[in-house]
Symmetry: none
Subunit: 212 residues, 4 copies
Amino acid sequence: MPKVTEEHTEARRRQILSAALTCFAREGFHRATMQDIFREAELSPGAVYSYFKGKDELIAAIAAEVVRFALGLFETLSRPGPEGRLHTPGEGFAMLVRAFRDIDLSTWAHRTRLGPQLLAEAQRNPALRGRVREGLGRGVGIFAELARAAQERGELDPQLDPEHVARLMLAGFHGLLIQVSLLGDVVDVDAYVKTVAALLDSRAATRQTTPA
Amino acid sequence: MPKVTEEHTEARRRQILSAALTCFAREGFHRATMQDIFREAELSPGAVYSYFKGKDELIAAIAAEVVRFALGLFETLSRPGPEGRLHTPGEGFAMLVRAFRDIDLSTWAHRTRLGPQLLAEAQRNPALRGRVREGLGRGVGIFAELARAAQERGELDPQLDPEHVARLMLAGFHGLLIQVSLLGDVVDVDAYVKTVAALLDSRAATRQTTPA
Amino acid sequence: MPKVTEEHTEARRRQILSAALTCFAREGFHRATMQDIFREAELSPGAVYSYFKGKDELIAAIAAEVVRFALGLFETLSRPGPEGRLHTPGEGFAMLVRAFRDIDLSTWAHRTRLGPQLLAEAQRNPALRGRVREGLGRGVGIFAELARAAQERGELDPQLDPEHVARLMLAGFHGLLIQVSLLGDVVDVDAYVKTVAALLDSRAATRQTTPA
Amino acid sequence: MPKVTEEHTEARRRQILSAALTCFAREGFHRATMQDIFREAELSPGAVYSYFKGKDELIAAIAAEVVRFALGLFETLSRPGPEGRLHTPGEGFAMLVRAFRDIDLSTWAHRTRLGPQLLAEAQRNPALRGRVREGLGRGVGIFAELARAAQERGELDPQLDPEHVARLMLAGFHGLLIQVSLLGDVVDVDAYVKTVAALLDSRAATRQTTPA
DNA sequence: GATGAATGAGTGTTCATTCAT
DNA sequence: AATGAATGAACACTCATTCAT
C-alpha cells in the first residue's frame, strides 16, 4: 500500500492511454484489439484492467481528454486577446487549428485520424455522444459569440446568422481533419487556415465601408 | 426459382444493399453483424453471400454508390447553369447539400450517419480509401473551378486561394453531416446553407467596390 | 416419358460420375464441393440430385465402380492363362497394375490420387467400408490361390504363408498408388512391377533348377 | 494462472496434440471439427488457438511428429546391427513395422488409421506433402542401401533393382496400415511381417545353391 | 499489485441440399 | 425433366474479459 503512490498510478494511466491512442489511431477503435494495447503498453491484461474497466472506458477516457482539451481551448478563445477585444472569427479559427496541431500528447497525424473516428463513434456510443455534444455545443457557443462581437464591431456582415457562421467554423475544422487524415500532406494546412480566416474576417470591414 | 433475371437480380442487390445501409447507419460498420443484415433483408446467409462476397464488399458497394452519386453531382456542378454562367461557389455548395439531402434511396438521417463513418473507415480500408480520395479530389477540383470563375467575374476576392476555398466548401459539407448526425434537428440545415452561401458569394462584389 | 430413354439416363449418370471423379481426384472428397461438380458436369444442382441422392452417394458410386473393376479383374486372374496353368503371383501382380493403369475412364494420375483417398475414406464411411473390404477380401483370396498353386507347382517356397504373400501383393499395389500420387513420375512403374514380379516368382525358378 | 512455464506449455501442447490425434483418427481430418478437439482436450477454443494457429497447423504438427519418428527410425536402420553387418532387408522391414507398432504416444489402432489419411491428405496439402516426400525419399534410400548390402553379401538376387525392392518394402508397410485400418484384427501382423521378411531374405540362399 | 493462461460467446463465412417455377 | 435461387445448420476462428496464482 505505501509502495504505490498516486503518481505511479497516474503515470500508469497515462502509459496505458498513450498506448491505446497509438493503437486506435493506427487501426481504428474496432480493429485495434486489447492485445494490441497490452503489447504497445508493455503491460499485462490484468494490469490494464485494473486501471480501466474495459475497452469502452479506454475509448471514453481518450474522448474525455480530447473534449477537455477543446473545452479549455474554447475557454481561452472566449477571453479578450492582447488588444483588449475579442478575437475575430478568423483568429479564433486559426487558434483552434494551431492549438490542435501543436499539442504534443501524440502526433498530428494520430490526431487527425482519431478525430474523425471519435466523431463517427460518438453516433453510437452514448458515453462519447454526451461528451462530444457538449464540446460541440460549447464550440458553437463560443464561435457564435466571436461572430456576434465582430458584427457589433462592424467587422462581419450583420445579416449572417452567427450560430451558423460558428457551425461552419467547426465544420471547417472537422473537415480539415478528414482531409488530412485521408490525403496527408497534400493538404497545406497553413494555407487553408489563412484562406478560411481571410474569408471570415476581411468580410464586413469591406461591407461597412461600401454602402456609404 | 429458376429463370429469374436481370431485374430480379438487380432488385435483390438493392434489397440487400438497402438492408446493409440501414444496419450500418444504425450500428456502425463494425458493430453491425452479418446476422443483422440477414434479418433486416429477410434473407438467408447464403442468399446474401451469393450477391456479395462478404461484409467488406458490402461496405465497398455502399461506398461506391455514395461516391458515384457525388461524382455525378460534381459533373452537374461543373456545367453552366440556366443563366449561362458557371454556378457561384455559394450556389454550388447549396446544390451539394440539397442534392444529398433529397435522394430517396434512404433517409437523410441514414446518410448523415453513414457519411462520417465512411470517411473514418476510409482511413484504414484501402479499397474505400481510393474511392473516397477520388471523390474528394474531384470535389476540390470542381469547387476550385467555381471559385476561380467567380474571381474572374469579380465576385470573389481574388486574393483567396481557390483550392482552399474549395476545401472549406467540402469541409463545410462533411462537418454538416457530422453535426446533423450527432445533434439531429438542432441543426437548421437550410439556415446553415444560406449562411455559408452568403459568406461565399456576397464577398467580393463588396470588395470590388471598396478600394475606391 | 417417352422423351427420356434409358440410354439418356445412363449417359447422364456417367457424365455426372465422370465430373465427380475429376473433382474428387483434383481436390479430395471433402474439399471438392458439389458446386465444383455441377460446374464440371455443366449441369444444375437439381439435375445432379435427380440422379444421385447426395454427395455420399456419388462417392459410393465411384467406389462401387472401382471395386467392380477390381472384382472383374480378380475374376480374370482366377482363371488359367493361355499356358493352361494359373498365373504365377508375379504375373498376377503385373496384370493388376497394368490393368489398373490402362483403363481409360480417367487418367492414371486421377486414379492414383483417388485410390488412396478411397482407402482412407473407407475407414469412416460404412457404405464404402463394406465394398472396399469385399474387394480386399476377394483380392487376398485370389492372390493366395495363385500363391498356393505356385507352391504346388514347386515355384514358390512352401514355407511361406499364401495369405500373407497375397496381402503383400495387395500392399505392393496400394503402396505403389501412394508413391505415384505423391512423387509422380519419379517412380518408374514398369521397373517396379518387374522387380516385384521377379521377387515373387524367380524364387522357384531357382527352386526348379535346384533338384536336378 | 501466470508464471507457468516450459513443462506446462509442453504438456499442454501434447495434451492438445493427443486430443487432435484421437479425433482425427476417429473421424478423419475433415470430419473432425475443432469443437470435437476442444471437447476431447477439455479445453476452450481460445486455449487451443493459443498453442496452434489453426486446424492446419494441428494436422501439420501431427504429420511432423510421424515423419520425425520415421526419420529417426531410418537413422537407426542405417547403422550396423549387433552382428557387425547391416540389417538384411527382411530385418529392416520387421524393425519398421515393430517400431511403429510399439510407440506408445497413441494406440496402434489410431496410428493405422492416421497413416493412410496422412498419405491421402498429403496429395493436396503442400505443407504435408513436403514432409511426407522427405520421409518417403529417406525411407527408399535406406532400404535400397540395405538391399545393395545384401546383394554384396550374396544374400539377395543381384539382378533385382535395389531401389524398387526398397519401394516394395515401403509399400508393404503402407499397405499393411491400410489393411489393418480396414480389417482390424483379421490381419495377423506378426505372420505378415514374418512372411515378408522371409520373402525378402531367404531368397539368395537358394540362389547360392543353384548355379552349382 | 501484477500476471498471463484460460474462457466462451459471438463472428464472418461455406456448402450440401431443397423446391417453386 | 430441369433449373438455380434460396436455405440454414455448421464451421473455423477471434478477442474482450476473468481469476487462480
